[in-house]
Amino acid sequence: MCMIILENVTKIYEASNGSVTAVDNVSLQIKEGEIFGIIGYSGAGKSSLIRLLNGLEKPTNGKVIVAGRDIANIKGKELRKARQEIGMIFQHFNLLWSRTVRENIAFPLEIAGVPKEQRKKRVDELIQLVGLQGREDAYPSQLSGGQKQRVGIARALANNPKVLLCDEATSALDPQTTDSILELLVDINKRLGLTIVLITHEMHVIRKICDRVAVMENGKIVEQGEVLQVFRQPKQAITKRFVQQVVEPEETKETITHLLDKYPNGMVVQLTFVGEAAEQPLIANVVRQFQVDANILQGKISQTHQGSYGVLFVHIDGEKEEVARAIDYIRNQQVAVEVMTNAR
């Protein structure tokens, strides 16, 4: 069952110096209960895309269906009602500074016309849910970034939405706080069965919590699929760059070049493991079965939402044929092998 359907959606902004196509013929289906990530650099059109989902922006062309409602073609009261079923959180939290934590969370309930007694009860539940007990009467200026985003999340969930939109929700937070907010999102997703759509420029966020991912560039979705699949076989150059963000330590490229110079014999290979393969004693088997030396140069295993994913750079030395056979063997173990060559 699809919670969100986009069909050939285009968004063009008319500016005085010509028009800008922010979203270019995008079609997308997002299932109920999944965490769907959209990644792209700034200016790729992801902010416009996510705003089409709650009608903050109207598409120039195409169809936007969220929770069975034709968002692009409703307005006034009906649109406001629909928006109450679509929560949204923001990069800069966008809390009302004039209201306490409790009053901020109560705001969407006031909008929905919930009576005072029920409002109080619901706010207490939400404060528990996001772990802000004891800070109820603080003002946003007295909170840390992570706490502010927790208020944002509680506020977005107040009216029991079916969909939660996250607009770069962790981009203004430090890595540790980012992780705790991401954990909270996963927890909410599991507990409430909420569909979450998030946009980000950090592959780390996608890796950590998303089920599926779409990569956006120049207003188009250039690649999409299961997160693990995209990590294993990124097709587009931009996707490869994003995957590198998480799997390759920064200095890898330099190190590899250096090693290729240092070991003119044998081969330097990049091994990519996914799921179970990541947990097998592969290198030990290779050394035992073939007349080769294997030297691990660099490696990293990342945990994704669906399973582990690892990259290992290994130098294999020995007789040419033996090395080739060893590589064949590795290929047969469901491990992707890429032979690194010196660019020069």
């Binding site: 903050l56 679509i86 923001f90 500074w97 004039s98 006031e110 909008i111 003002y139």
Partner: protein, 222 residues
């Protein structure tokens, strides 16, 4: 002792003039606050990228505001004589000063309101929209509360300007401390009366400023 230093001061007259000044300022501040806030909201809402974006309406309101803001107050009083006579029935007394005071101060305050509203984080308005808030809800629960400190400090400045205006209005017969200082003090060469009237105006201004600063700091939770 006081009677020796200030031989010409009749305290019951001073008291009556002070009450008149406070009355004119008080009514004018309340009316300016309401009218100016409405005008300021309209200026803000009809401007580019906002909820009621409308270039024509924005231009008309802005023109009206600018015209009335540019006319020197003393000239505005004279220009408004027909209107005042029609509304109040006379050109004498405190009530006769009110139309000119309000029409003179409201556009001035409207611009301050507009600036205060423009200072509000656009993201907060967007968040309210995303929650399904109607325009009325956004005005009452986002725009006004989020700009309240600036609205209060703006009305403080405007109130002080209004005290000055009432003194000017006094010269043309509206009563109050300005009237007293001019007629009793200046024209009859009783400098002590002018002095007392000036001190009282200063006290009123200081008290307004103090109240304004105090309220602003109390409500500002940023």
């Amino acid at each position: 002792m006081l009677a020796n230093l200030l031989p010409n001061v009749e305290w019951d007259m001073i008291w009556a003039a002070t009450v008149e000044t406070l009355y004119m300022t008080g009514i004018a501040v309340v009316a300016t606050f309401i009218l100016g806030t409405i005008l300021g909201l309209l200026l803000f809402l009809t401007s580019k990228g906002n909820l009621w974006e409308n270039r024509l309406a924005n231009m008309i309101i802005a023109a009206v505001v600018n015209i009335f803001r540019s006319i020197p107050f003393i000239i505005l009083i004279i220009l408004l004589i027909p209107l005042t006579k029609w509304m109040v029935g006379t050109m004498l007394g405190a009530n006769a000063a009110l139309p000119a005071l309000i029409i003179g101060a409201a556009p001035f305050y409207a611009r301050m309101v507009e600036i205060a509203l423009r200072e509000i984080d656009k993201g907060v308005i967007e968040a309210a929209k995303a929650m399904g808030a109607s325009t009325a809800t956004i005005i009452w629960k986002v725009l006004l509360p989020e700009s309240l400190p600036a609205l209060v400090s703006g009305i403080t400045v405007t109130a002080i300007a209004l005290v000055g205006y009432t003194a000017m209005a006094g010269v043309v017969g509206a009563g109050g401390l300005g009237n007293l200082a001019y007629l009793e003090g200046f024209q009859r060469n009783h400098n002590d009366v002018t002095f007392v009237a000036t001190v009282l105006v200063l006290i009123i201004v200081f008290v307004i400023q103090f109240i304004g600063d105090f309220v602003t700091s109390k409500i500002d939770k940023r």
